[in-house]
Structures are given as structure tokens and as C-alpha cells.
């Protein structure tokens, strides 16, 4: 089947990434005291890379359910905007549509954005295959990592840094592509200020609220400047220094 062939070739980079990160997640979960059925369950019904790393820290207990919800909404808030690009394209998917929305991870999203489908191919079928294959890689990785976690012949202390590394990669990628670094500075500023004020246990939500407020203010300001074009450039240059 040529759709299967095309989908597999296109998803190879994700295969490598998901198997590796999935293994890291599986090991972390195993270190936290949860066996492979948990890895299988979480990777099947949650299926969100960074969120799954964050949630391992919840499973040990001590966090309120409300914080779990708010943390999930904040960590995944970027997803609220991914779908905007696919509202039209997903309309024709029929029965597969709910699954396609559910499985729209960062990687699947970027894969769809960067793929042009050859005309001989059934585009819908190919997209569904790509999504499903990606999730399979993720599940296989997490279950494998969980199973081999306790027989790995070397010390895995520090493997949780994979999550930090993942975010730093996205950060760098965005930094290199962004027209303006102000939104990044707003995020860093909000994060650090709220960490100092609220402490490590409860600073994420205030940071996000502060960031949204500052970002809205800044967006409104630059929108206005956009109307008076010559001044906008000046303002931007000032900000970047």
C-alpha cells in the first residue's frame, strides 16, 4: 500500500524521537514505582510528550486535583492554538476526526505542516496512518523503557533531564525562527518573578497569567504601532536591546 509506505518514510524522524523519548518516559515512570501497564495506559490515553514527563511528578502524590487540571491546561495551552491551522483540513475526515484531533501532538502537527502529499495518494488515509504510526512509536517506546528500566546496566540518574532538553530544543527552535524575542523575554521574566514570589510549588499558573497579560498588552501596543508603520520599527528596535 503506497499510503503506508509514504507515511512510514515520512514518520521515520518521529520514530527515532518518540522511541527514545518514550524510553526515557518509561524509565522515569518505572523509577517512580509504576509498571508497564501504567506506561501503556498513559501513553494510550494521554499521549502528550512533555505533559507525561510533568505528570510523573504528580503521581507521587501531594498535589491537589485542581492543580493537576490547571497544570495540564497550562502545559498544553499551546495545543489550543495548533488546531486553528487544521479546522478546514480536518472537516473532511469523518469518523477519524476525533482521533486526529486527540493525536495532534507537537510532532504530528509539525509533520502535517511540513508535508506535501503527492497527487496519487489518498491524503486523508495517509494523514490518519501518520498519526496512528506516531502514537504506536510512542507507546512502544514507553512500554519498552518501563520494562528495561530496572535491567539497564548503567546508572540512569539524571535521565529526567530529557524533558528539560526537549523544552530547550523547542525554545532554541522558536528563538531562531521568531521575528521578535519579546514574547520569549516576557515568558522568562514572568517565570522567574513568579518563581521568586510563589516558590517552586505553585508558580506556573501565576506565571502564565502574567505572561498572557503582558503579551496582550504588548500585542495591542504593536498592533497600534502597525497602523503608524514608521514608528513600529523604531519601537521594535528599542525593545530588542
Amino acid at each position: 500500500m503506497k499510503e503506508l509506505n509514504f507515511a512510514f518514510k515520512r514518520t521515520i524522524p518521529i520514530l527515532l524521537g518518540y522511541i527514545t523519548l518514550g524510553i526515557a518516559f518509561g524509565i522515569l515512570l518505572q523509577q517512580a514505582g509504576f509498571g508497564w501497564p501504567w506506561a501503556l495506559l498513559i501513553s494510550t490515553i494521554v499521549y502528550a510528550g512533555s505533559m507525561q514527563f510533568v505528570m510523573v511528578t504528580f503521581l507521587g502524590g501531594g498535589i491537589s486535583l485542581l492543580s493537576v487540571i490547571l497544570m495540564t491546561l497550562s502545559v498544553n495551552s499551546r495545543h489550543m492554538f495548533y488546531g486553528i491551522s487544521f479546522i478546514e483540513r480536518f472537516k473532511t475526515l469523518g469518523k477519524a476526526r476525533p482521533y486526529m484531533i486527540f493525536s495532534l501532538t507537537d510532532e504530528t502537527y509539525s509533520l502535517f505542516c511540513g508535508t506535501t502529499f503527492p497527487s496519487g495518494l489518498n491524503e486523508k488515509k495517509t494523514m490518519v496512518l501518520m498519526s496512528a504510526m506516531n502514537q504506536c512509536y510512542w507507546i512502544i517506546g514507553s512500554v519498552t523503557g518501563n520494562l528495561i528500566g530496572n535491567i539497564i546496566p548503567f546508572d540512569t540518574t539524571g535521565i529526567d533531564f530529557a524533558m528539560t532538553a526537549l523544552f530547550v530544543v523547542i525554545f532554541t527552535e522558536q528563538w531562531l525562527a521568531a521575528d521578535s524575542h519579546i514574547p520569549t523575554y516576557i515568558g522568562l521574566f514572568s517565570g522567574v518573578i513568579c518563581l521568586i514570589i510563589f516558590g517552586p510549588g505553585s508558580f506556573v499558573l501565576p506565571s502564565l497569567i502574567l505572561a498572557v497579560a503582558l503579551l496582550s498588552g504588548w500585542t495591542v501596543k504593536t498592533e497600534k504601532a502597525d497602523e503608524k508603520e514608521p514608528r513600529e520599527k523604531e519601537a521594535n528596535e528599542e525593545c530588542q536591546e
Binding site: T20, I42, S77, R78, Y82, L208
Partner: protein
């Protein structure tokens, strides 16, 4: 709540609200048609701020009392960023940085 039930509730909540965030634009903007210009712009820019906050989240337990409290993560982050600027290969940057961090915490800053 027993241990297993509590864990199960957390997993289900995370699953439900993760799906909610993915479904959100399809429900909110799918009916009304195009989102407003302002929402779109915020949608483009917010991920930049959120990722920066998540990087801070990963560093939340950093301490500055001793070198071992901050040096490993800061060095490893620099390695990830440098590898990424050099090759733009996600997997290489993540694996290289994580390996570097593991060596630092296990052998260098013990």
C-alpha cells in the same frame, strides 16, 4: 482514595484535559469561522512565552548554595542549545544534552 484509584484519577484528568486543549480550537473557532486577528496573533506568540516558562519550570529546584546545585543543568542547557544551533537535529540535541547532564551529575559534580 486508595493509591491506585488516586493515580487513576490523575491519569484520567490529565488525559481528559489534554484532549480538551486539543479539541478547543475546533469547537470554538470551527463554528464561528475564522478566529479574530487578535486571537490569531496571541496564538502565534503565546507558545514562545509558554515554552520559556516551561524551561524555568524544569529549573525550579535549582539552588545557588553550591556549584552542584546549578552548574550541571546550566552547562547541559548550553550544550543542548549549542548542539541545536549547530545541527538543528532534535534527537541529537536531546540525547547529547541528556548524556552530558548524566555524566555531570554522576561523575563531575557529585
Amino acid at each position: 482514595m486508595s493509591g491506585v484509584t488516586h493515580t487513576l484519577v490523575i491519569v484520567l484528568l490529565v488525559a481528559l484535559f489534554t484532549f480538551f486543549t486539543r479539541l478547543f480550537p475546533f469547537v470554538v473557532f470551527g463554528r464561528k469561522g475564522e478566529p479574530s486577528h487578535m486571537v490569531r496573533r496571541l496564538g502565534d506568540l503565546l507558545p514562545l512565552s509558554v515554552i520559556a516558562i516551561l524551561v524555568i519550570y524544569c529549573l525550579k529546584n535549582t539552588t545557588f548554595d553550591a556549584l552542584s546545585g546549578f552548574a550541571p543543568q546550566f552547562i547541559a542547557i548550553a550544550v543542548v542549545a549549542a548542539l541545536h544551533i549547530w545541527r538543528r537535529n532534535n534527537l541529537l540535541s536531546i540525547l547529547g544534552g541528556t548524556a552530558c547532564y548524566m555524566v555531570l551529575v554522576q561523575y563531575v559534580f557529585v
